[in-house]
């Protein structure tokens, strides 16, 4: 075990998989010699060679299409899409191709590809470097959607994603690369060094997809969150003093329905937090699932705290970001209900 940032843990996951499986290869914009704009593939080309870790043309659709062809051949390509905001040109290849190949060929071909992409705000990226587009993809059957919230999970989940025989979209909360972030932007930035989940084994380990983690056990209220918002929810809970149970979903598709229902049936209250825009977001699906399955256990209406239904505005970063004050207010509302 050693202390790793999320960036280092992700790097370690790919390092482990490149060493274990000659069919794993990595490509994307700037991922080769330079090691990626966020340094996630740092040193991998030097260690494994140019044919295993290399730069790709700035053409996301082509990158994903090429990965699908490689997957159909039998490789396990890992593509870095430099920002989640850049993934839209590849939408057709992800939705109509990667997600449908196994189905339409009745199992003759599949696309065991992993698409890693940094998402979310907190770095003043404005509307084209801050988005959280996971909800566009959770609507697509055939894709798996994974979002880690800490270095330990990031490594184990990325290894599982690479080993998975279905296409996995792996959204990395870029504000968490260097350290945990609870939304208190006015405080000095922290690193993962002192965080228990910053302790990461150097070797192989896998965390199964489709399983949520209990980030904090509690009795009064269930908070469903993922990525950066897990840390925001923890901060908000501490500030309100409410004994909340915080579920870190980790995988959005397939979502861990048993963990969700067990927790809400126990607490009788549910708050959903995500950074993505609200309307039609993944929180809407979570809310519907909880209502359908736990209605008779609910003691208050389900609430959502999310990004506003606007593009991400650069100079209003913290007015947009669903920070601990908004989450705490929602906790208070639900507890009063």
């Amino acid at each position: 075990m050693s202390a790793m940032s999320m960036a280092q843990a992700l790097n370690s996951a790919m390092d482990v998989m490149l060493a274990r499986d000659p069919d794993v290869l990595i490509f994307g914009e700037d991922v080769g010699f330079f090691g990626g704009v966020f340094r996630i593939t740092d040193g991998l080309q030097q260690r494994y060679g140019e044919t295993r870790v290399f730069d790709a043309p700035i053409a996301e659709s082509g990158q994903i299409a090429v990965a699908i062809g490689m997957g159909a051949y039998g490789l396990r390509p890992v593509v870095e899409c430099q920002f989640a905001d850049y993934i839209y040109p590849a939408f057709d290849q992800l939705v109509s191709e990667a997600a449908r190949l196994r189905y339409r060929s009745a199992g003759e071909f599949n696309a065991p590809i992993t698409v890693r992409t940094p998402y979310g705000g907190g770095i003043f990226g404005g509307q084209t470097h801050s988005q959280s587009p996971e909800g566009l993809f959770t609507h697509v059957c055939g894709l798996k959607i994974v979002i880690p919230s800490n270095p330990y999970d990031a490594k184990g989940l990325l290894i599982s994603a690479i080993e998975d025989d279905d296409p996995v979209l792996f959204f990395e909360p870029k504000r968490l690369y260097a350290g945990p972030f609870d939304g208190h932007y006015e405080k000095p930035a922290e690193t993962w060094a002192k965080h228990p989940l910053g302790e990461v084994p150097a070797d192989y380990y896998a965390i199964p997809l489709g399983k949520a983690a209990v980030a904090r056990e509690g009795e009064a209220l269930t908070i469903l969150a993922y990525g950066t918002m897990v840390h925001v929810a923890l901060a908000a809970m501490n500030e309100t003093g409410v004994d909340a149970e915080i579920l870190d979903l980790r995988t959005l598709a397939p979502v861990d329905i048993e963990a969700i229902t067990a927790s809400v049936e126990k607490t009788g209250r549910c708050l959903i937090v995500h950074e993505a825009t609200r309307t039609g977001g993944f929180g809407a699906e979570l809310s519907a699932l909880v209502q359908e399955r736990c209605f008779h256990h609910l003691e208050a209406p389900i609430l959502r705290v999310t990004g506003w239904d606007t593009p991400y505005p650069r100079e209003f970063e913290w007015e947009y970001f669903p920070g601990p004050h908004r989450v705490a207010a929602a906790i208070a509302t639900i507890m009063a209900g």
């Binding site: 043309p57 299409a65 062809g69 490689m70 159909a72 196994r102 339409r104 009745a106 798996k144 397939p254």
Partner: protein, 420 residues
């Protein structure tokens, strides 16, 4: 007098529409045998003429001319003739089956059979082919049973795509035939990825892809060319220019200003324009491109210059948008008639054998069709259990699909029948 300095918007328009007399004399058609055949390791810049010319081998008298003559053994020519005729007989029966309501949709390849068949024979059987929807001849050339294809068209009990796919969207991994997508152009860059993987693994197999001239306007086409060029992928990129994208002329895809083969010039690899109805020329150019790919000389773009004699699909009526007899005026003829004339000219074929082969093929197609229809046709099913629709979305069925599968079973049970 004041000069009109206002801007004008150019809209490409087909040369001939219903009521017009087609006249293709404007096409600059070189004679058979005129095109040079560069060595496979020629630098791309020295091959530019091929992108703007037209490789032709068969002349109007059925003789093979020039350096591109592939000098194929007569058995290969007869095999090609047979596969083209079988493809046409298969197409005719499936088209008729759609008119009879036995399948919702069909797409014929009439007039373009040399594309799938000659190219299928020029490649190795384990080269992976990422086709569009009009290369059924490739499966036929690889001796894939038309019976199996009919079962897919009918979505019957033996449909390998289990009633999920549009008719003609075959998948045949054993025949090196990649699962067809209904989304145009997506297969083009995927083929490049497959080829890159083959090179990465130091394999010997190459990939080939097909696209129509209409779909070559899609970004996927251009991204395929970028990636193929950047990584020198062992891939053959085939663009079938059959003049028509449903009702839009090839001009709407950019064919007025230049040839489609010339797209390769800007990417730095050879583009070759070939008479797509000339079995020998198509075979020779494909073999040349395959040797380039296998020799690590990189990709080739082939424009197969042909004419879509059939409607786009069973869903359109070409007499609404083009002269009904336009194909009769097409100067490059019919690939089956031209190969037949060549075989006769070289003394390897005659009218009697041709008639006998035709009769044999008709009988085979009829027998296969009867056998396939006996296993069920569209609307007479479903032929696979409806519960199977939840399979293969993922390798392992997640909880939501298991629940929905059970929900459908309850609906069917309460309705007391196999369909709700």
């Amino acid at each position: 007098m004041k000069r009109d300095s206002s801007l004008r918007l150019h809209i490409p328009e087909a040369r001939f529409r219903p009521g017009d007399m087609p006249n293709f004399s404007y096409l600059q058609l070189p004679n058979a045998g005129e095109a040079e055949r560069p060595p496979i390791d020629a630098v791309a810049s020295s091959t530019r003429g091929l992108a703007y010319g037209l490789v032709r081998v068969l002349d109007d008298d059925g003789a093979a001319r020039g350096p591109w003559d592939p000098k194929l053994a007569p058995e290969v020519l007869v095999k090609g003739l047979r596969a083209m005729m079988l493809t046409r007989a298969f197409d005719e029966r499936m088209f008729r089956a759609q008119r009879q309501g036995k399948t919702p949709f069909y797409m014929k390849s009439t007039g373009e059979e040399a594309v799938g068949v000659a190219q299928g024979l020029a490649l190795e059987r384990d080269d992976m082919c990422f086709t569009s929807y009009r290369q059924q001849g490739l499966l036929v050339a690889r001796d894939w049973p038309i019976f199996d294809m009919m079962c897919q068209v009918y979505a019957n009990k033996l449909d390998r795509t289990k009633g999920r796919q549009l008719p003609v969207m075959y998948s045949a991994r054993e025949a090196g035939f990649f699962s067809l997508s209904g989304n145009l152009a997506t297969q083009f860059p995927q083929a490049v990825g497959w080829a890159m993987a083959s090179a990465y693994k130091r394999d010997t197999r190459i990939a080939a892809a097909w696209i129509g001239e209409g779909a070559s306007a899609e970004g996927d086409f251009h991204q395929a060319l970028v990636f193929a060029s950047v990584y020198r992928a062992p891939v053959i990129l085939n663009l079938v220019n059959n003049q028509w994208a449903i009702s839009s002329s090839q001009g709407v895809a950019g064919g007025e200003e230049t040839t489609f083969a010339s797209r390769a010039v800007g990417f730095g690899f050879p583009g070759v324009r070939v008479d797509g109805n000339d079995f020998l020329a198509v075979h020779a150019v494909t073999r040349w491109a395959a040797e380039r790919a296998r020799g690590n000389h990189g990709p080739t773009l082939i424009e197969l210059f042909t004419y879509r004699a059939a409607p786009h699909s069973t869903s359109d009526d070409p007499s609404r948008y083009r002269p009904g007899d336009e194909f009769q005026h097409w100067p490059l003829g019919d690939p089956i008639a031209r190969l037949k004339a060549h075989l006769i000219r070289i003394g390897e074929w005659d009218e009697e054998r041709h008639a006998a082969l035709g009769a044999e093929i008709e009988a085979q197609a009829d027998a296969d069709n009867r056998r396939a229809q006996a296993l069920g046709v569209h609307g007479g099913g479903p032929h696979h259990d409806a519960a199977t629709m939840f399979e293969d979305v993922y390798k392992e069925m997640p909880w939501n699909l298991r629940e929905q599968q059970a929900e459908l079973a309850r609906v069917l049970a309460s309705a007391g029948r196999s369909r709700p």
